[in-house]
C-alpha cells in the first residue's frame, strides 16, 4: 500500500501503554497543539507506519476529548508489517496520521447489542459511551481467548458493571455462544460487531434471521482477501468520457482506469476505507470490500473500485467516472 493522497496531520506519540498481551494503546496529539476535528463513535484514522505503509486503526478514546486520539493495536506476527511497526513506536515519536473518518457510524435506535472479538473492541468503546450517555438500553458481549489478551476488559467492566458488559474469555467459559446470543431477535435493536472475519461471518449468518439492516460490522481485513475467487477480465465504461477500459485479471478497476489517466480519489486501496466509492450506472458488481452495508450492496448503486469487480456473467460495468 502506498500513502494516500489527501490531508495528513503531523502528530506525535504522547503515550504508549501495554493494555493486554500483544496489545498496545497509543495516545496521539497534534504537533501544533491544536485539537483534532470532531469525530463520531466508530471512526478510524490512517496511520502512516513507515516504508509507505498506511494502516487504519479505530479510535477508542472519547469524542468529547479532542485534544488527543487513542488507538489500540494488536501485534499480528504474520501480518504485512503494520502492527509490528506500530508496536515499535515510542513516546515522543513523530507520526503522520489522517483526520478521523467514519465507515462504521452508530445509527439512532432504541437498543444496541455490541459484539466485540479481541481487538475489535476498539471502535465499540466510544459507542458504549454514546449509548450510555443517551440513556439507551445496551449490552456489550466481548469475547477473547483469555482475559489477559482482552484489552480494556476490566476497565469497561468496572465502568459499566457486569450487567452491561459480558466478558466471555474462552479459557474460562468457552467461545461466544452465538446461537444463544443472537437466537432471539429483539425489536428496535441494532447489532454492532467488530472482530476477526470468522466471528463476523458467524454473526452475519445468524443476523439473517433478524430484521434487514440490523447488523453493522467493521472488518479490518478485506473480507475476501486470500479467497480464491475466479477473476475474469471485464470492461468498464467511463460514463463521463465515454472511454472503455478493459480490467484484466491481475489489475483492479482503480489501477486500470488510472492507467488511462482518469483520476479517482482513493486511500487504502484495500476495500477498507471507502474513499474510492463510485456510482454504478449499469452492470452488476461483485463487492469485495469490507465497508458497504448489506443494504448498500442490495441497492447495487455504489461500489468500491479498489477491490470490487464485475460480477460473474457481467461483462461490462458503466461507472460514473
Amino acid at each position: 500500500m502506498t500513502a494516500p493522497a489527501g490531508a495528513t496531520i503531523d502528530a506525535v506519540v504522547d503515550q504508549v501503554d501495554v493494555v493486554a498481551d500483544q496489545v498496545v494503546s497509543l495516545v496521539l496529539r497534534r504537533v501544533d497543539g491544536q485539537p483534532f476535528q470532531p469525530w463520531q463513535p466508530g471512526a478510524h484514522i490512517d496511520v502512516h507506519v513507515g516504508d509507505g505503509l498506511v494502516r487504519q486503526y479505530s479510535l477508542c478514546s472519547s469524542p468529547d476529548e479532542l485534544d488527543h486520539l487513542r488507538i489500540g493495536v494488536l501485534h499480528v506476527p504474520d501480518s504485512r508489517g503494520g502492527s509490528k511497526a506500530v508496536h515499535a513506536l515510542l513516546a515522543g515519536t513523530p507520526l503522520t496520521i489522517s483526520e478521523p473518518r467514519n465507515n462504521f457510524p452508530l445509527r439512532e435506535s432504541r437498543r444496541y447489542l455490541f459484539i466485540g472479538g479481541g481487538i475489535g473492541i476498539t471502535p465499540l468503546i466510544p459507542m458504549l459511551e454514546a449509548a450510555q450517555a443517551a440513556g439507551k438500553e445496551w449490552t456489550l458481549i466481548y469475547g477473547g481467548r483469555s482475559r489477559n489478551t482482552m484489552a480494556f476488559a476490566q476497565q469497561l467492566e468496572d465502568q459499566y458493571g457486569p450487567d452491561r458488559i459480558r466478558i466471555i474469555a474462552e479459557d474460562e467459559v468457552g467461545r461466544l455462544d452465538l446461537d444463544q446470543i443472537l437466537g432471539m431477535p429483539r425489536a428496535h435493536m441494532l447489532v454492532y460487531a467488530c472482530g476477526p472475519g470468522g466471528l463476523l461471518g458467524a454473526v452475519e449468518e445468524r443476523c439473517m434471521g433478524w430484521p434487514p439492516g440490523t447488523l453493522h460490522t467493521e472488518r479490518f481485513v478485506a473480507s475476501t482477501l486470500g479467497a480464491a475467487a475466479a477473476n475474469a477480465p471485464f470492461e468498464v465504461e467511463l460514463a463521463r468520457t465515454g472511454a472503455t477500459v478493459t480490467v484484466p485479471n491481475d489489475k483492479t478497476i482503480l489501477e486500470a482506469v488510472e492507467e488511462v489517466g482518469v483520476r479517482v480519489l482513493s486511500s487504502c486501496r484495500g476495500g477498507l476505507c471507502g474513499t474510492c466509492e463510485t456510482q454504478i450506472i449499469s452492470g452488476e458488481p461483485e463487492h469485495r470490500d469490507a465497508v458497504l452495508t448489506q443494504e448498500d450492496r442490495d441497492a447495487g448503486e455504489i461500489m468500491l473500485v479498489c477491490v470490487s469487480r464485475a460480477a460473474a456473467g457481467c461483462p461490462r460495468l458503466v461507472l460514473d467516472l
Binding site: A187, H188, R297, G313
Partner: protein, 399 residues
Amino acid sequence: MTVITHDANVLGEDPFDTVNLLDPYPFLGRLRDAGAVSYLESTGSYAVAGYQEVYEVLTDFETYISSGGLGPRDIRKDSGWRPPSILESDPPIHTVMRRALTGVINPGTVRALREPFTPPAVELTEQLARRERFDAITDLAEKYPLRVFPDAVGIPDVGREHLLPYGNMVFNAFGPENYIFKQAFAEGDEHAAAVMRNCQRENLDDVGFGAQIWKRVEDGLITEQQATLLVRALLSAGVDTTIFGIGNTLSVLARYPEAWAQLRENPKMAKFAVDEALRLESPFQKFHRTVAVDTVLGGVHLPAGAKVMVFLGAANRDPRKWGENADDFDLNRNASGHVAFGMGLHQCVGQPIARLEMEIVLQQLLQRVATIEPDGAPVPILHNVLRGFESLPVRITAA
C-alpha cells in the same frame, strides 16, 4: 411520567365493504384523518393508517406479534385453516426460517435470474406490441410471473394451475370470512393439497429456490416441515403480489403519459417508476397483528390480545410522510421508505425477485411501446386485502 391516553375513535365504516374494497382511498383518507388509532366496530379490531403508527407496529415485533395470525381471528386460540407460515410466526421459531430464506434469496441468487427472466418478457411484449389494444392484466401481468417464477422455485409443471386460486385463498383469508373469502375457498382443499404436494422435496427440481431451501434441512438449520412451509410461503407470496405489482404499475403509467415518455428516454428509471407505483398502488394493502402486552400507541391504550389492522396502502399515501401530492405519481419522488413490502422483521424476503420481474417487464415494454393509455375503465378486483385489477384495457402505439 404519566402517559396520557384517550379512547380510540370509534368508526362505523367497514373496510371490507364492497365500495371500500373497490376504491379504498377515500375510506383510507377518512381513517387517517380520524386519529392515530381507530376502533373498527365492523371487525372488532383497532386500525392504524398513518405512516408513523404503521411503521411502529411493523417494527415493534415484540409488542405486535404475528403468531396470532394475519387475519382477524387469533389463530393461537382458534386454529387456522393451515399450519402457520413464516408470516404468522414470531421469534425464535421465525428466526431459523427467516435465516434459511435469507441465505437462499440474496443479491447473488437474484442477479442470476435476470438472464432466464428476460426472454419470456421479450416474447410477451413483442407479441403485445403488434396489437393496438390489449388487456394489461390478463394479457401481461397475469402471464409473466407465472411464466418465470414457478421455474425459479423449481416446481413441476403439473399442478401449476392451482397457484393462482391458492394465492387467492391465502390472501383473502387475511380478511373476514365474508362471501369473498367463501368464494376463494370453494375448492380450497384441492388447491391446498396440490400446492403442498409441489413443495415436497421429491417434486422439486435440483437447482431452484425450493431445492436450496431443502438443503438447509441437511445443514440442520430447519426441519422438513419447515422446509415444506417455506417453499409454500414462497409460492403463495410470490405470484399474486407480483401480478398485482405489474398490473398496478401499468394502471398508474397508463394515466401518466409524460412519465411514460420520460421513461422511454431513460429506461434505467424503470426501477424507480416501479417503486413509486408500489407506493401509490400497494398490492398488499392491509393485514392484522395481535397485541402481545397492554400498550399505548398514538396515545391510545391497546389491550393485550386485541387485533390491530395495519393499512400499508394508507401509510404509503400519508401526506405527513409524502407531502400534499401523496396521491399523485411522481417519477422524481424518492419513494424509499414505503411499506409496500412491509418493514422490519417480516419484510418481504422475495422483494428483490419481485422487483426484478417488474423492472424487466417494464423495460421490455418501454422498448416496444411508444405510448400507452387507458382504453376504457379498469376493473378493480374484489379482494379482501390485495389491491389490483382484474382487467385493465389499454391502447398503445408501437415504437
